[in-house]
């Protein structure tokens, strides 16, 4: 039976679980830290 507040049902994992998700996020974390060292250029008129 679901909770009366739908947001208490989250995070909801589909076709995965917390363990697998945590592993994927750890890999992403390192990619992001590398990315954080780079620069995005915005062209202004």
């Amino acid at each position: 039976k679901m909770s009366t507040d739908i947001n208490k049902c989250f995070p909801l994992f589909i076709n995965t679980d917390a363990k697998e998700f945590a592993e994927a996020r750890a890999k992403t974390h390192n990619i992001r830290l590398e990315k954080a060292k780079t620069v995005q250029y915005i062209t202004v008129p």
Binding site: M2, T4, I6, N7, C9, F10, P11, L12, F13, I14, N15, T16, E20, F21, A24, R25, K27, T28, I31, R32, L33, K35, A36, T38, V39, Q40, Y41, I42, T43, V44, P45
Partner: protein
């Protein structure tokens, strides 16, 4: 049995995302015959998952086109792994009979990065007397990473440094 809107929404989310895994060929049955869809462009991501920061989307109209699309990309669809973080919903349309749903979460494939997304659905009741709904609209949009520093480049100076 009369379901609350919240119960309909929660059941819908489970059916929708579970069917991506278990039976992507039948995912299109959840859509109305004239549904509009903006979905993951599986063609573009097929061979370069690690190279992209943001996943492109493709636009389709009609259940038949949606069916062909999901069937063509069956492997990528069924391999998808999803973590739903939030769901907001409102009633809409004539007599507030339709349901607008806004979902946020993260998704990934085996070995891929994790991508943040937001997805918007509109559900329409199929018949007056029961709790059967079709999807009339489905828009998925990926949230770009914002981890980079920003530098401004004045247009007249030409291109950004490489």
């Amino acid at each position: 049995m009369v379901l609350s809107i919240q119960e309909i929404v929660y059941a819908f989310l489970q059916v929708y995302y579970q069917r991506m895994k278990s039976n992507p060929g039948k995912l299109a049955n959840l859509y109305s015959s004239t549904a509009e869809l903006a979905h993951i462009n599986y063609t573009q991501i097929a061979n370069k998952l690690e190279d992209i920061d943001e996943i492109p989307t493709v636009k389709l109209t009609g259940r038949d086109n949606i069916s062909k699309f999901f069937s063509r990309h069956e492997k990528k669809v069924s391999d998808l792994k999803v973590k739903i973080d939030s769901c907001d919903f409102q009633t809409t349309g004539i007599n507030h009979k339709n349901i607008l749903i806004s979902v946020t979460g993260e998704l990934f494939w085996p070995g891929s990065q994790v991508y943040q997304f937001c997805q918007t659905f509109i559900l329409n009741p199929v018949a007056k007397s029961n709790d059967i709904y079709d999807i009339s609209n489905d828009i998925i949009r990926f949230i770009p990473n914002t981890f980079q520093k920003i530098e401004l480049v004045v247009e007249k100076q030409g291109r950004a440094p490489t």
